[in-house]
Structures are given as C-alpha cells and as structure tokens.
C-alpha cells in the first residue's frame, strides 16, 4: 500500500539502483526497464498560445514576401486557338486544321500592361490535354532516346513504333504528338529575338537524349500527329522535343517555348506571328500563349502567398480565442478534482 503517495516516493522507487558498469550497459538497462531519459512535452495553455502565436508571426511575413514576389511577376496570357481560325472555318475547325493547304499563320496583338524585365519566358499552354494519360505516358522508349537505333526493342512505343517496317526514332506517342505551333514576336518594327536554347532540363539534355541519336523515319506515316524534327540535329539538341517529352502532371499545362532577352515596357504592343499548326480542335483543347517574367519563386502564383497569410492570420486568431477562453474558463493546472469528473464522464 503506497499511502504516502506523492512524487517523492515515486522517484525514490524509480531509481532502483542496480550495479551498472558502463554507460552502454546503463543505457541498455534503462531501455529494457523503459526508463530511458525522455522529454515528455505537455500541451499547456501557454505552450498552445505561444505555438499559435509563433506560427502566426512566422507565416504572415513569409506570406507577405511570397505574395509580393508573385505580384511582381508580370504575365500576359493570350488564348488564340479560336481567334486564329478564319471566319470561314469557324464552324469547321477540324477541316481547317487538317487541311494542310490552308496557310496556318495568324497574328495576335499582345499588350504589355506593366514593364517586364528580361528574361521574359514564353510558354505555350494547353488545356484539356491529358499528357498524363497512362497510354500516352508509357508510349516512349528512354533507351532508344539515349542510344538510338542500337536499341531496337521498341515495343513500349506502341502504337507508334515502326513505320513501313522501319523503326521510328524517336518512337512513341509523345514524340509523335510533338507540339508544333511557332511564334514570332515583333515589337514596333523589329523582331524580338527569342532564345530557344537552354529551355530543357540540363539532365535531360546530357543524360537522357543521346548526342549521337538522330531522328529517323519520324512522322513519315499517314497519320501525322504534330511537329517534325530536323533529322540532321541530334536529339539532345532538339530542345522542343525534350521539353515536350517531359510529360506534364496535369491536363492543363504550360511548356517553355523560349526566352525573350530584352525588357518589355509597359504599353508596348507586341505582334505575335504564329503558325497555328497543332490540332487541339478535335478534342476541345485550348491553346494559349503566355509571356511571363519570373521571380525567385518562379511564375505568377498567388496561392502560396495567400495560403501563408491566411494560415498565419488564422493562427493569430486562434491564439486570441484561446487566450480569451483560457481567461474565461480557466482550468486549474494539474486538474483539481477533474479526475473524478472524468471517471464519471466515462462511466
């Protein structure tokens, strides 16, 4: 019968001494006796309040900085898939896009509403385009991309593996459906120089696409999905292809087209001469052209900043709520008599 109770006696019985020889023994002993030194954090009101306060004070500034960064990004978006169809073909978009005899060129005017600092990234954006479809994603052959024709098992590239009995390099649906709209940017009278180098990941260029692999037998079939490749340029230099082959995660995605390495001023009007080659009309996909600067956070995306600010401010709010609740209904620390109530509550 432990009548005197209390922590003192508990400690006394707890430290039952056993001859201990070395530190390691002691640790093992403590482990087996489940008496390893441990920190036992207890959520006390002060902890709770300070945790929320701390989160609030950290998150709100982060949110503000993030939001500011995102706001500083200037983004010009232009959807052109519908506008670029001549009036005559408005009702027969498919006919327009499939007829190769019709010239596909089209001009768009982009107004820069705010000064854009170089580098300005040019993206094309496709919506409702399921690049992440399983059948699509699987239809490629990494070995072939790296080693070329030496690697001739292209079964994974179905249904775009061979043509006229010859293997296709690069094979597969992804490469076959290469995006082939092109853009030219003219400001005033001069054409803006678009840098289309270094738009793909370096690791892709160096390790995934062979330097000695050249397109072969590509887009020679009856059904042509998209862009053609210059068979004289090896794959690791075909950055359009490399960018395209990085399949997007979501059905609405942007891909880097190039960079404009000049600043654009506010109220500049940029004429885009584009070739509207790519067929998204058959499945209702949208095409957009995006010009965007970047911040240290990347492109324009307010979500992150807003999330930080709202979480931070709700933390502060919760913190105050707890302070009020604690003042109004103070629960004695260590719970006077609550033990009994607790028992009854659970009976």
């Amino acid at each position: 019968m432990d009548v005197d109770g209390g922590g003192v006696s508990a400690v006394a019985t707890g430290d039952r001494t056993i001859p201990i020889h070395s530190g390691r023994h002691e640790a093992f002993y403590q482990f087996t006796q489940q008496k390893l030194p441990a920190c036992k954090p207890v959520l006390t009101p002060s902890w709770v309040i300070s945790i929320f306060l701390l989160m609030g004070t950290i998150f709100i500034p982060i949110g503000l900085v993030t939001l500011h960064a995102s706001q500083s990004v200037v983004e010009v978006v232009d959807r052109y898939d519908i506008e670029c169809i001549p009036e005559a073909f408005k009702s027969n978009k498919l006919g327009y896009i499939k007829d190769s005899s019709i010239p596909k060129n089209c001009s768009r005017f982009l107004k820069v509403y705010k000064r854009m600092k170089a580098p300005i990234y040019i993206y094309y954006q496709l919506d409702n385009y399921y690049q992440n479809h399983r059948r699509y994603v699987k239809s490629r052959n990494d070995q072939q991309l790296l080693h070329g024709l030496k690697y001739n098992d292209t079964s994974s590239c179905k249904p775009e593996q061979t043509n006229n009995g010859l293997p296709i390099v690069p094979c597969g649906l992804i490469a076959w459906s290469l995006f082939n709209d092109t853009y030219k940017f003219i400001r005033g009278a001069s054409e803006l120089k678009v840098n289309r180098k270094n738009i793909a990941w370096k690791s892709d260029r160096d390790h995934k696409f062979g330097k000695h692999v050249y397109p072969f037998n590509f887009q020679n079939g009856t059904l042509i999905g998209g862009g053609k490749l210059d068979p004289r340029i090896h794959l690791s230099d075909q950055e359009d292809l490399i960018v395209w082959m990085r399949t997007a995660a979501l059905p609405s995605f942007r891909k880097l087209y190039g960079r404009i390495e000049e600043d654009l001023n506010a109220d500049d009007v940029i004429v885009v001469n584009l070739m509207n080659n790519y067929n998204t009309y058959s499945f209702g996909g949208k095409k957009k052209l995006v010009l965007s600067t970047s911040s240290w956070l990347g492109g324009k995306n307010d979500f992150l900043g807003v999330a930080y600010i709202s979480v931070g401010s709700s933390c502060i709010f919760v913190c105050f709520v707890f302070i009020l609740l604690h003042m109004k209904y103070p629960r004695p620390y260590g719970g006077h008599n609550l033990f009994v109530l607790e028992q009854e509550r659970h009976l």
Binding site: M1, G5, G7, V8, A10, T13, R16, F31, T32, Q33, Q34, L36, A38, C39, K40, V48, M55, Y123, Q125, Y130, N132, R134, R135, V137, D142, L146, K158, P159, L173, W176, W201, S203, G225, A248, A249, S252, F253, R254, L256, R259, S282, S292, S294, W296, L297, G298, G299, F303, L304, A307, V311, F322, R331, G334, G335, F339, V340, E342, Q343, H346
Partner: protein, 1245 residues
C-alpha cells in the same frame, strides 16, 4: 540419512491403516466388470514389464516418452505457417496483388508488389519460428529431466525422461515427478502405499494414497526387481484421469488393476521415499498429455476490431475502385475516343478500348484495386508483430517482475495478447498456489474464552496507519469546510485521533501484560521463524500457559491439537524439534504449534500415539501414550474429525475438531461455558481471513464406548451403498455432548503481496472471481484475507438445498436455484443505491445446475453485478465452462490465472490465460499466454504493461490507418486529374519505401516505447487502467476520427500541391513542373506530414523516437539524392530530381512547410481543445507530473489518489477506507457528546 530414515519408517508403522474407512472398504466390483473388455478394441494394450527392448519393435511398439508441444516441425513449418499467414484477409489480398503483378493488370512493377509481401510474410514467419523454437527448448528441458531406471543386474541408472520406453522399471524418489504413467509396484513403505500430489492434474491439494498390488509389494529393493517379469493388459491411451482398466499377469496369476495402482505423469511423489513402477504409458500416450489440448490461438480484442477496420478500408478501396472504373468507362466512351494523341483506334489496347468501354472499365477496376492498395496497410500486421515481440521482450526483461526466490521472471509466451492485458475486466483466479502458498501458519487461538495471539484486526492497524498519515490533511479539511466550528473540531480531532490510535493499538480486553504489546505488534506481518507457526503471546509461550487459571482446559486444548490428526512425525536432523507430514497443511500447523507449546507428538504406531507432554505439576516432560481406538475421519459433509483414545489410566477421550457451527451444535449443556466468547473471537479471526477450527472434547464412559463400538463395527463391515450413511449415523452417536475448549486460527498463507495486488487491481476497476476446488469455508476465508470480502458486504450463498440434492431431479434443482437467484437479485435491486457491495458464493454442485440453459442467464446476471464471486468445489471442467460463459455473457475481456493442470481449461478458455510458474508443474504455464512467478506481478503486468501496450497498439493501429489513407488517397485524387486512366503519381520506389523505410521505424518506436505516464504513476493511479476496458483509445469514434483526419490531410496535401504547382513556373529559371516534380514534392509533403503527425501522437520522446522520426524524414532526402544519382535507366523520372529541380527551388521548401503545418492543424486543434477543455485522465496526470516541477503539492496528489480510489468497492484500501469512515464518525459523535457535556455542565454555564 535416507537409508536410516527409511529403516525407521519401515519399522515404525503401516500407518495407512489409519484410514480406517478406506482400508475396510470392499474393493469395487467395477474394474472386474470391465476386465472382460480386455483384448477388445479400446482395451488392447500389452505391456511387457521389465522388457523395454520388446517395445522398441513391432507389434508392441509404442511411442517414446518424448513429449512435444511445438506447433511445427522442420517439414511442416513452411506449409503450415504459410497457411496461417494467408488466413489474414489483408495478406491474401496482397498475395493476389502480387500474383496479378505478373500480368499486365498491375499498375506497379513486380518488385514493388512482391517485395513488401515477402518481407511482411517473412518477418511473421520468422516470429512464428522463434516462438516455436522456444517451445522446443522448453520441451527439451522437460524431456531431459532424469529418473532412475533399471539397467540390468539389479542396477539403476539415471536416464532422461525421453529415453524411457514402455516396460521400463523405474525408481522415483520423493518430491520427483513421475515421468510417465506408471504401474505402481512397490514403495519404501512396507505396506506398499505411496502418497501422490495430483495438483498438476486436477488441482486438488490434498495428498492421495496409491496402493500397489499385494503381489508386488515385496519387491522394494533394487535387486529384487531384476527378477520381475510380468505382463500388463490394459486399456488404450485415453484422457480419462479417474479410470483405469487392466490386469497384471505375474507369476502365472492374473490380478485386476484399478486406478489406485496407476501413477500418472505430472503428479508428484510425496511423503514417500521412493517407489518402483513400470512404465505403461509413455509420452503422448500418458493421460496428462492426452488431457492437454493444444492451446487455441487467441487474438486480442483490438486485433479483432482492427480486422473490422481493415474490412472498412477494403470496402472503401472497393468503392473508389468502382468510381474509378465507372469513370474510366465514361471517359473512354465519350472523351478519350476523341483524343487523337492517344490513337486509340490504332490497336486494341485492352485497357482503353472505346468499343468495349465496359470491358476496359472492368480491367481498370481490378487494376485500381491494386493501385489504391496502399490504403490497406500491408505493413501493419508485420509492424504489429515486430512491436509485439519487442513489447514482449520488455515485459520479460522487467526487473520489477523478477522473483528473486525462484529466479524466474515474467514470460510472455505469446506475443499476441499484450494489448489485451490493458483491457481486462474480469479476473478469474485459482486459489491454491495462485493466491495462497498452500502453507498454513498457526496464528491465533482462543482457549477457554480468552483470545491469544493478539486480537487486533489487521484492518484496524492499516486504518490507524493511514489515519496517522492523513491526520494533518484531515485537520486541514475540517478547517476549510466549516470554519465556524473549526477551532473546537480541529482541536478535538487531533487529540481524538491519538486517542483512537491508542484505543486501536493498545486496547486489550484483558488489560494485562501491557509490556507484550509492542513486540507483538511489531511481529504482525513479519515472517515467522518456525515454519507453520507465527504466534507470539507471552501468556502462552515459553510454557507460561502453566500459570493460566483454567489449566485443565488449556491442556486439553493442546491435546486435541496434538492428537486429533492424521499426521506423522518426521525426524529433523539436528534439533529435538520434529517435522510433520500430514494430509493437509493445516494439521501440520497444529502439530507444530502443539510442539511449541510443549505437547510434542513424537511417535505414532498403528494403534498408539505418543506425546511428550510437559506436566505442569512437576514441570517435567513426560511421555504419555494414547491408544487410538478410532479415527473418525474428516469429510466435507461431516466437517469435523474425531479421535477416540484411551490414556494410560483407562480413561476414554473423544477429541474433536471441526467447523464451529458443527461443533457448537454438538455441545453438551455444561460444555457451552466459553461458547459466546469463542464465537466472538471466531468471527474476528474469520474477518481477518483465518481458517478457524473449534476444538472440543468429551470423556466417554467405558460402557458407552463398548456399546457404540459394536454399532460402529457393524456399520464398518456393511457392504453396500448404505454403508456410508450407517457410518455417519454411528459417528453422530458418539460425537455429541462435547465440551468446547476453544478455537484455533490458522492462516492460509497468501503469496507475497497478494492483498496489495488485489487491492490495486480492484482500484483499477477489475472484478475478481475466485474459482477453487477447495471447500467453501476455505474459499470464503481467503476472500476475507484478500479483503475481497468484507464484513459489511452482502453475501449471497447459492447452493442446492439438501432435499433438492437428494432428489437429484434436475427440474427441482433448477427451480430451487432460480428461486434463490431471484431472491438475491431482488435484494440487490432494492439495495443497489447503497454503496455496500455484494458478493456471491456458489458451490460446484449448484453451479452445475446454474450453468444449464434455463438458469444460466439469471445466474450470470446476478453474478456479474456482484463485486466479488466465489465458486468453490468446482471441477476443472466447470472452471473452463464458467470462464467461457462469463466471456460470452458479458462480452468483457476475461483473464484466468492459475497454477495447476486443473486450471488449464480455464486458462485456455479465457481471453488471457496466465500460469503461475513459481513453484512447480508446467501444465498451466504451457497452456498459458503469460507466465508469472508470483501472483503479485499481475498488478504490474496489467496496470503498467497492459495499460501501456493497449495504448501503444491502439495508437499505432490508428496511426497506421491514417498514414496509409494519406498516401492511398492522393493516388486516387491524382486519378481524377488523369481521366482515371490509372497513371501513378509517384515513382514505384517511393511507394515501396514508404511502408518499409520512410515511415516504419517511428511507428515501431511508438508501439514499443510510448508511455502516457511513467510506471510509477500508473501504479499510483490504478484507475487510469479503466481507460482500457472502456476502450476509449480504440473506440469507433476515434477510428473514424483518424480516418477523417487521414482524408483531410490527404486532401490538403494534394490540393495544395496541385494549386501551387499548376501551370506557372516553379523556379526562377522559368521551368514548369512535370509529373515527376509534382510526385516528388507531394511525396515530400506526405513524408513530412505523417512523420510530424506521429510526433504529435507520441508523448514520450527518448532519443530513439527523435532519431527515428527525424531520421525517417532525413532518409527520404537521402533516398532522393541517391536515387537521383543513379543512371537514368534505373532512376527514370527520379533522375537528378532533387539536385537539379526541386531541391534548389524555394517553392519546394515553402510548400513543404505550409502543407505540413496545415495538414496537421486539424489534429492539432483537436488535441489542443481536448487537452485544454476536456482532458482525459492521463492528460491530467501528465499535467500534474509536469507542473510538479514548480510546486511539489503532495496534497493535491494525494487527493487525486483518494479520488481515484473512491469508486472501488473491494480490496484492502476500500476496507480500510470504510474503517476510517467508521472511526471518523465515531470520533465525531464522541466530539459532539464531549462538547455537549462540556457546554451543559454547570461550570461552563
């Protein structure tokens, strides 16, 4: 020494003749009847004695004496254990998934489906193998015990048990176990009897006499046995302990054998130096082994509920797979067909065939079942197994549960039930060997109306001790409560407490011998020096009884003690004090006591008992002979025992001892002078849990004796069923007109720490049932001495009335019982608002009826509402039956604890079976799930380890469910963004490693090391244990809560990632994210979230937890680095992922931070609100422990403790509390009366 003692015993007596009744009993005709079966099927066994070599070959080849309890052997291990593994639905599902991974249906690579399964199954099988190996070692230990066996030329040599074979002649020495079933040939006693303790078989503690055949009893030397040749024909092996049919052909004659000639394996030779026997059944054929049933594999309640959770998850999985399949079909039919970049028309991809969307949909369904399989925690089972093994290890290693005396510690024999220990509600306990030591101590006596040996009740002592400590508090509380009277009251209370203490401690009715008080009190509770004697009273000790006034009665009292028994003296080596052996330990205690009082019983021959008595007139020791005329033996119906002796002077005495009620009924008019005082003392003794016997004597006239003797002899020689009745009637004739001498109290020594342990268990809200084979009185005594019964408790005695019993009509008995039960129940209902608890005492015969169909429910209803239930005189089978019925009726977790083979049934039947491994016998231990060396360790096992393990396992399972939902659902959400085509967001390796490395260790550390409060606090606040039986940590509310938490967390993680990473560039260089980046970042968030979540769950961080949690997160980054550094042929999309793309993007880190925090917020808010406003018991204790740093507030601590005790009805502290209450009231009244007298006195006015 053995040589000499043997000679003396031999020369001395054939004391088996003392058992007058049994000796003259005509041999039962039953066995003869059965003999005709011999040779028939079922009775075909042939044993050639002393020719074991003939039993090594056919046709009489019998199994060896090797006994195996292992589950598997080398050959059967693989198929059997595999079968066991795949009985789990989840494992079967994963097997199916692994098989499907070899078809095109699988969304993952083969390795990622097969490897975890192999790992999981492998670990589980390894565990099985290790457990079985331990069983094997235990078998080995038993099988390599040695015994003396004849090797030829009259020599006996040591042989291991397993080498014995049928036909071997062996010699078993005192206190050894019989290695197999033996035919008893001869013993060290000339009359060919031996004493056997069968506790391991049937739990009966009294010794049983076995008797060999007249024909073989002469062969009691080693040499003589070499000539022995005989043939035994007997029944085939069967589990029936009490029958044996066979005959022995020996020297051309045939003798019938009966159970008295068979010594069973696992029983023990007692009081006999050695015996010779022939092995007739060996190993698996022995009755003990035939009786043992393979322990059923038990699963804990939590695990069963976990199965339901798994089924729930399965149905969830089924549902989302169905959604996926239907959506795919629709997408395929209406949308995908137009996506020319898929070129669906070019070949018929079985998964995407727009012509047959239903077929594709179905294929997607099966595929989705595997894809979302991460909802089902594959590693849950294996983690639980690992955790349980480690928990078991910690339980086994606990030094607090190590018994120095037997050098044994707690053994968890199965690791399946650790958490079940935390949910026990009813404990069914055996008595002998479990609660008690089966040792008796002479403690107190009441001679001629005076009580000796102190008459302080132990409860009062404890109460005064406690009051002493809380005197201060008490005073303070009075101060606070009513300030108006505080002054007077506090003054009085302090003073009065002193007074009461004095009254309690010093109050003696006698008032004499004040000087003896202090030594006497100090001896209370101490171990006595002389075994069986724990008595101090200077009025009797050291022969001072000579100076007592009523000397004759005192002398007679001692004579009853010294003569009325069936014991024999055994010479001790050095001193003149003798040791005794007797049928029951109680008699030994009396003999030892009488020896201490200088009435030494020192020799017994067949007809004479010799005492060395101290003659008070001369002060010298004289030898007195008493001729035994008759011994009327003890039986449970007679409840008394008498001897009729004639002393030298020709006076005939009848000495009688027996239950008080029986003796009181038979007193002469002039023999009642001490009745009142004795009765008072007896009730005091009984309340302290002592076993009491009243002593009486009678002087018989010679003529009366002669007359009676003729009647009695006639009765004895009667043959037939009425014999017993006649004998009873005859003894009634002489056992009357007794003169009461007094009473003696012996303590049935409890095991160390039993009352305290029971007290703690009672505080923890556990109900205790005592199931014993012993008689009712003993059981009730133990109830008192364990404080399970209290004087103010309402006791219901359920037993069959005499008439009903004799009629033995089931219907009448049922009605009788029903009537009793209903009466009791009414009483209970009427008084249920009072807090006086109820107890029920039921005996075996009544139980037999009570457990039949018509009465069962009413009986159980009553029993369950009682705070304490005693079932006495129950057979092993009934024990098991009660256990099962209680388990089924109440649906509560039951724990059975016992030490003998008679408890095996109950141990196996209960949810948890515990065997006491302290003394001897392995049956109970072998059948048990845990073995304890001592009952008292049950307290720590349940209240500390059970509580911990329960919380650990429940937290662990909930967390597991959570983490797999978090992962599994993100896979599903992603499907919604991929037109349900079955694409996986993550790399295969992420998924493989998720359960194996990235999240496994923290949860194991949670399962092994988590402690809500330290073990000391657990023991101080046993009521914390109640959380387990109420199952608040694994209630459906909580399970659903965690599932929702998982759903919410996965939603937050996935949606936040989608929105933050959608379309716009995520790096300064303008790159946009692709599927690998999204996968990597989302997975990082998952890893952080689930690992931080467990950090929120854990409340006890040792360096191990820190290492595992933060190490797991770190290991994810290490994995990313290593994986990214592999050539792209292996790492695929993961190539340079971290280094080149996500690691250097600030967005990645910021997403990780916010997503982790937000996804943990719901849970965090929940625990914050719970802790601040609706704390649970453990939370408060944690707080108290935490804030104790600032203010050591013992008072608060103590108040909590007493509060936690309040609802307890049984146990020592409840009793002490009741006593304190009583004393306080008493005090208060006294204070009032003093106050009144003071105020009303003229002086005051």
């Amino acid at each position: 020494m053995p040589e000499s003692s043997r000679r003396t015993t031999k020369g001395k007596i054939r004391w088996s003749k003392l058992y007058n009744f049994t000796c003259l009993r005509p041999s039962t005709a039953d066995s003869v009847v059965h003999l005709e079966h011999l040779g028939q099927p079922g009775f075909s066994r042939l044993v050639l004695c002393n020719e074991p070599q003939l039993h090594k070959t056919k046709p009489h080849k019998y199994p060896s004496n090797y006994v195996s309890t292992t589950k598997y052997n080398v050959v059967t291990f693989l198929p059997k254990s595999l079968f066991e593994q795949f009985r789990r639905v989840a494992n079967l599902y994963f097997l199916l998934a692994a098989v499907l991974s070899f078809t095109s249906l699988a969304p993952f690579s083969r390795i990622s489906l097969v490897a975890p399964l192999v790992f999981v199954i492998g670990i589980s099988m390894l565990k099985e193998a290790v457990e079985d190996w331990h069983r094997f070692l235990q078998d080995l230990n038993v099988n390599s015990r040695t015994v003396k066996a004849r090797v030829g030329n009259g020599r006996f040599a040591e042989k291991t048990w397993r080498e014995l074979s049928v036909g071997d002649v062996i010699k078993v020495h005192k206190n050894e176990y019989f290695p197999s079933d033996l035919l008893f040939l001869s013993s060290s006693y000339e009359d060919g009897i031996c004493y056997v303790e069968t506790m391991n078989l049937d739990g009966e503690t009294n010794l049983k006499v076995k008797r060999c055949l007249e024909a073989t009893l002469g062969m009691n030397e080693d040499e003589e046995l070499s000539k022995f040749k005989g043939t035994v024909r007997c029944e085939d092996p069967n589990p029936n302990l009490y029958t044996f049919v066979g005959n022995l052909e020996f020297e051309n004659e045939s003798y019938a054998l009966c159970p008295a000639q068979v010594l069973l394996r696992d029983s023990k030779l007692r009081n006999t130096d050695y015996i010779y026997g022939v092995v007739i059944f060996s190993g698996p054929d022995t009755k003990a082994v035939q009786n043992s049933t393979r322990s059923p594999s038990k699963r804990s309640r939590i695990e069963k509920k976990m199965d339901l959770v798994i089924y729930l998850l399965f149905s969830f999985l089924f549902l989302i797979s169905l959604v996926t399949a239907i959506s795919t079909a629709f997408y395929l039919k209406y949308e995908m067909v137009e996506w020319l970049y898929l070129r669906l028309q070019d070949d018929d991809d079985p998964f995407f065939n727009p012509i047959k969307p239903e077929v594709s949909g179905f294929r997607h369904f099966t595929r989705a079942l595997i894809l979302y399989g991460y909802l089902i925690p594959i590693s849950l089972y294996v983690s639980i197994e690992v955790v349980k093994v480690l928990q078991t290890m910690l339980i086994n290693k606990d030094i607090e549960m190590y018994d120095e005396v037997t050098c044994k510690s707690v053994r968890a024999r199965t690791s399946n039930l650790n958490e079940e220990l935390g949910q026990v509600e009813i404990i069914l306990s055996d008595k002998t060997g479990t609660l008690t030591r089966n040792e008796m101590e002479f403690r107190k006596c009441s001679i001629a109306g005076t009580s000796y040996g102190g008459d302080i009740k132990e409860v009062d002592l404890a109460a005064s001790r406690r009051m002493n400590t809380c005197a201060e508090t008490y005073r303070c509380s009075i101060d606070e409560s009513n300030t108006s009277q505080s002054f007077e009251l506090s003054e009085f209370s302090e003073a009065d407490i002193m007074v009461t203490e004095k009254a309690i401690l010093g109050g003696r009715e006698d008032g004499e011998n004040q000087s003896t008080e202090s030594p006497e009190i100090s001896t209370v509770g101490k171990e006595s020096v002389i075994k069986g004697f724990n008595f101090t009273d200077d009025r009797l000790m050291n022969n001072r009884w000579m100076y007592r006034s009523n000397l004759f009665d005192v002398i007679m009292f001692f004579r009853v003690m010294a003569l009325c028994h069936t014991g024999i003296p055994v010479e001790a080596n050095q001193t003149d004090k003798l040791k005794y052996e007797a049928e029951s330990p109680e008699e030994v205690a009396f003999l030892v006591a009488s020896q201490e009082f200088a009435f030494q019983f020192f020799r017994r021959t067949q007809s004479v008992m010799v005492l060395k008595e101290l003659d008070p007139s001369s002060g010298k020791v004289v030898e007195r002979e008493y001729k035994i005329l008759h011994l009327l033996e003890f039986s449970s119906s007679r409840k008394r025992m008498s001897v009729i002796v004639r002393n030298k002077d020709g006076q005939i005495f009848l000495f009688c001892k027996g239950a008080d009620s029986i003796i009181f009924d038979r007193l002469a008019e002039n023999g009642k002078s001490y009745q009142e005082a004795t009765a008072l003392h007896l009730s005091n003794y009984a309340e302290d849990g002592f076993r009491t016997l009243a002593f009486a004597y009678r002087i018989i006239e010679t003529a009366e004796y002669e007359h009676w003797n003729s009647i009695f002899s006639q009765a004895k020689t009667t043959i037939g069923p009425e014999r017993d009745e006649l004998l009873d009637k005859a003894s009634e004739l002489i056992e009357k007109d007794l003169i009461l001498l007094g009473a003696a109290a012996v303590e049935d020594k409890l095991q160390k720490g039993v009352p305290e342990c029971i007290d703690k268990l009672a505080q923890a809200g556990l109900k205790i049932w005592l199931l014993t084979g012993d008689k009712k009185e003993t059981a009730v005594n133990i109830g008192f001495s364990c404080s399970l019964l209290q004087q103010d408790m309402k006791q219901f005695h359920i037993c069959l009335s005499k008439e009903a019993e004799t009629k033995s009509q089931v219907k009448a008995m049922k009605e009788d019982l029903l009537y009793q039960i209903e009466n009791s129940y009414q009483v209970m209902c009427e008084e249920c608002n009072k807090d006086s608890p109820f107890a029920m005492v039921v005996d075996g015969k009544a139980l037999e009826v009570a457990l039949t169909d018509g009465v069962k429910n009413q009986f159980l209803q009553l029993a369950v509402n009682c705070a304490f239930v005693i079932c006495c005189r129950v057979s092993p089978k009934q024990k098991a039956l009660i256990t099962r019925l209680v388990k089924e009726y109440t649906g509560k977790t039951t724990l059975a604890i016992g030490d003998g083979a008679n408890d095996v049934g109950m141990i196996q039947e209960a949810d948890i079976g515990i065997g006491i491994s302290g003394m001897e016998g392995m049956q109970a231990v072998m059948a048990s799930d845990f073995s304890l060396p001592q009952f008292r360790f049950l307290e720590r096992l349940l209240i500390v380890h059970g509580h911990w393990c329960y919380k650990r396992i429940s937290k662990m399972i909930l967390y597991f469910v959570y983490k797999n939902i978090v992962l599994g659902l993100t896979l599903f959400y992603y499907e919604c963004y991929t037109s349900f085509c079955g694409e996986v967001l993550y790399d295969d390796w992420y998924l493989v490693l998720f359960n194996v490395i990235l999240t496994s260790l923290p949860v194991i550390s949670l399962g092994v090391l988590e402690q809500d409060v330290s073990s000391e606090i657990c023991l101080q606040f046993p009521s914390l244990y109640k959380q387990g039986p109420k199952n608040i940590y694994f209630a459906w509310k909580r399970i659903i809560g965690w599932i929702l938490n998982g759903v919410v967390a996965s939603l937050i993680i996935f949606l936040a990632n989608i929105y933050m990473l959608s379309s716009a560039a995520f790096r300064q260089q303008g790159e946009v994210s692709d599927v690998a980046h999204l996968g990597g970042i989302t997975f990082t968030c998952i890893i952080w979230t689930v690992n931080c979540q467990i950090a929120l769950v854990i409340s006890h961080f040792t360096f191990i937890q820190h290492l595992f949690i933060w190490g797991s997160i770190l290991s994810w980054y290490i994995f990313l680095l290593v994986y990214g550094a592999l050539p792209p042929a292996y790492s695929k999309k993961g190539f340079h992922l971290f280094m080149e793309a996500i690691g250097s993007a600030p967005v990645y880190w910021m997403i990780t931070l916010i997503v982790t925090v937000v996804s943990l917020l719901p849970y965090f808010m929940h625990i914050v609100i719970q802790r601040l406003f609706y704390p649970l018991d453990d939370h408060i204790l944690q707080e108290m422990k935490y804030c104790k740093k600032e203010s050591i507030n013992n008072q608060a601590w103590q108040r909590e403790q007493s509060n936690s005790r309040k609802s307890t009805l049984i146990g020592l502290s409840a009793r002490v509390d009741a006593r304190i209450q009583y004393l306080k009231e008493h005090l208060h009244q006294r204070t009032k009366s003093i106050y009144r007298s003071v105020t009303s006195s003229p002086l005051f006015q």
